[in-house]
């Protein structure tokens, strides 16, 4: 308890110094802070955090920071958020979500009216930029409300400079039959910490695709959670690339709460240097969720002897008429492919980049935002070029 009070003390000081918000929001903040104090930062004794040590975050005294954020014409006032805010991303089980909720201030609330097709991607960029000085913490909060029968593309980007903590929470609510293509691009500074939770509550026959691209940060933890309704189709794609001493942890949870829903999950990771990665894919099929069709795949390309990957499926199936498959692979660059490329004159360096690119290609192909796909292709080609030979 002493340790927890030490950790939360600095946060308490900042919390009490804050300007009061509207009563409903202040009540929410107070309850969330109370919960944060009770939970404290998780340790590696907590099964959900077994391979990700957040002690460096717990030990640091952060100043309050604020990420600059882009706005969109679909942005609405905070009042629209009241019925939904914190209803989808619960702070009762997560200290980081509790902390985000306690410090929430500006919320990016996007609302797409019913039966509206938004062609252009809606981009939200959180920039925690600044270098030097005392590390700061930002708590970006996004709420996306998509009306029934509507269609949109959301691109959330996180970036910054220097040492800081981004503690982000995104809640997505999809009406019946809504179609959402969601991208989260994490390209934080390599000295930053990034913890983010996304919760999607998906309506009947909604079609939700999430793409989580994790490139930056010294430590990154991404929780992607989706609750499915009757006939919902959810696709969770992920790509994580870590080098040096980077650590990335992807926890996903798909809750098949109702029958006839489909979920497809494909997470791919590329690890080099002394980097480490975690994939934990939870799939819950509730008792009533008959005819569930669920497929989970995690593939890892490990380029060095010192990189470490922990991958674990976690299936909880309570219905009997379902199809659930899962698989995980960990491999190195294929020596036969390397030889084939080299025997055609292609040098080691380029052969390596080609095969790394090829490994990630199906995830990149699923990115439907052209500018994003281009920049991903660039990252893939450039990131591993300097390491070869």
């Amino acid at each position: 308890m002493t340790a927890i009070s030490e950790q939360t003390g600095a946060w308490l000081e900042q919390f009490t110094k804050r300007q009061a918000a509207e009563p409903w929001l202040q009540r929410l903040r107070n309850a969330a802070f109370q919960r944060f104090v009770e939970l404290g930062f998780p340790t590696t004794h907590n099964e959900e955090w077994r391979f990700t040590n957040v002690a460096p975050i717990a030990r640091t005294s952060f100043t309050v920071g604020r990420a600059s954020v882009t706005s969109s014409k679909y942005q609405v006032g905070l009042a629209a958020a009241e019925p939904h805010l914190a209803k989808h991303a619960s702070f009762h089980h997560s200290a980081f979500v509790a902390l985000n909720t306690a410090f929430l201030d500006e919320v990016s609330v996007l609302r797409i009216p019913r039966n509206t097709v938004v062609e252009e991607p809606i981009e939200i960029t959180y920039d925690s930029g600044r270098t030097g000085g005392v590390p700061h913490a930002t708590h970006p909060r996004t709420l996306v409300l998509v009306g029934s029968g509507s269609q949109c593309t959301i691109v959330e980007t996180y970036k910054g400079a220097g040492q800081y903590l981004t503690n982000a929470v995104t809640e997505i609510v999809a009406g019946d039959g809504a179609v959402i293509d969601h991208y989260k691009v994490q390209q934080e500074s390599l000295t930053a910490w990034h913890v983010a939770t996304m919760n999607a509550t998906l309506g009947r026959s909604a079609n939700f695709t999430s793409h989580s691209i994790s490139l930056g940060a010294s430590l990154a933890r991404n929780d992607a959670n989706a609750t499915l309704s009757r006939g919902t189709e959810a696709t969770l794609n992920g790509l994580y690339i870590v080098t040096g001493a980077q650590h990335v942890d992807n926890h996903t949870a798909i809750d098949h709460a109702m029958p006839h829903a489909t979920s497809h999950e494909l997470y791919k990771g590329i690890l080099d240097g002394k980097a480490s990665a975690v994939f934990n894919g939870k799939i819950i099929v509730r008792k009533d969720a008959q005819k569930t069709d669920s497929k989970q795949t995690n593939k890892n390309l490990v380029l060095s002897d010192e990189a470490v990957i922990n991958t674990k499926p976690e299936l909880q199936i309570f219905a009997d008429d379902v199809r659930c498959t899962h698989g995980a692979t960990i491999g190195q660059l294929d020596s036969e492919m390397m030889f084939y490329l080299r025997s055609r004159g292609i040098g080691v360096r380029e052969a390596r980049s080609l095969l790394i690119y090829a490994f990630a290609q199906d995830i990149v192909d699923r990115v439907r935002v052209q500018s994003l796909r281009d920049s991903l292709e660039r990252v893939l080609f450039e990131k591993f070029h300097e390491h070869a030979d």
Binding site: D334, S335, R342, R344, G345, I346, G347, A351, L354, Q361
Partner: protein, 258 residues
């Protein structure tokens, strides 16, 4: 001046010696067939010449255009004009045939002091070569060898050879798994590439391929050594009497390991 001179070549895989003293001299323009039963070391010889690191060369020398071939990396050998048509072409999902071949051709052209081809010139070149190999042009946009039939893979090898224009082509059991029509097309592709300055090593188990690609010399390999050399008539003699007729049987220990 010989293009390739192999002297007393020994090679091992693990602690097993596969090549036990190969001597072979190939002059420009010559086509040499290497025949032999399973496990005799034919494919090992082909792979060692292309630089496969799986095999360790434990003795002897290989001189190619007056250079020490064994000192060169696989990519440098390719850039200097050595080409291996694989017995089992490798599937590379995620890399398009077109991208792969353009990268290969331009690296090799650069090494030869030629200008790199732009997309248009490259496309014109490959279209023409594909036509002569009777290949479906959509194969260009597919990932390298991925989902290709056995015949398509072998054609793709010879097509690559036609585009890369090597000085020394090594064909490793290019006939295996081909029906007679595919065999004819592939052989015609190979024959079209015969030239006074280009030499070929044709590795095959069966004489059938040599009806279509007629060699200048035939060598019979057994237990890692060339036990008999002759003209094209040696292949016909083997057709009649089999390897047993020469007192050669499959090297069973190796066959069992494969």
């Amino acid at each position: 001046m010989a293009l390739l001179e192999i002297k007393d070549l020994h090679a091992t895989v693990g602690d097993r010696e596969i090549l036990r003293g190969i001597d072979l001299t190939i002059n420009p323009g010559e086509v040499h067939a290497i025949m032999g039963p399973n496990g005799s070391g034919k494919s090992t010889l082909a792979q060692v010449l292309a630089g496969r690191e799986l095999y360790s060369v434990t003795g002897g020398s290989v001189t190619y255009e007056r250079k020490d071939l064994l000192e060169m990396s696989p990519e440098d050998r390719a850039r200097e004009g050595v080409f291996l048509a694989f017995q089992y072409p490798v599937e590379i999902p995620g890399v398009s045939n077109m991208y792969f071949l353009k990268a290969a051709l331009n690296t090799i052209r650069k090494a030869r002091g030629l200008e790199e081809l732009d997309a248009m010139d490259f496309l014109n070149l490959v279209r023409e070569k594909m036509k002569s190999m009777e290949m479906d042009q959509t194969l260009l946009n597919r990932p390298v060898n991925t989902g290709f039939s056995g015949g398509e893979k072998k054609r793709n090898e010879i097509f690559q050879m036609a585009v890369l224009e090597p000085r020394l082509a090594i064909l490793d059991e290019t006939d295996s798994g081909l029906d007679i029509d595919a065999l004819r097309t592939v052989a015609a592709g190979v024959n079209a590439l015969r030239a006074p300055e280009r030499s070929m090593i044709v590795v095959t188990h069966y004489q059938r391929l040599l009806n279509y690609i007629v060699p200048d010399f035939v060598h019979v390999l057994s237990q890692g050594r060339i036990v008999k050399s002759g003209g094209k008539e040696l292949a016909l003699q083997l057709e009649d009497s089999g390897y047993a007729g020469l007192g050669i049987a499959d090297d069973e220990e190796v066959v069992a390991r494969v």
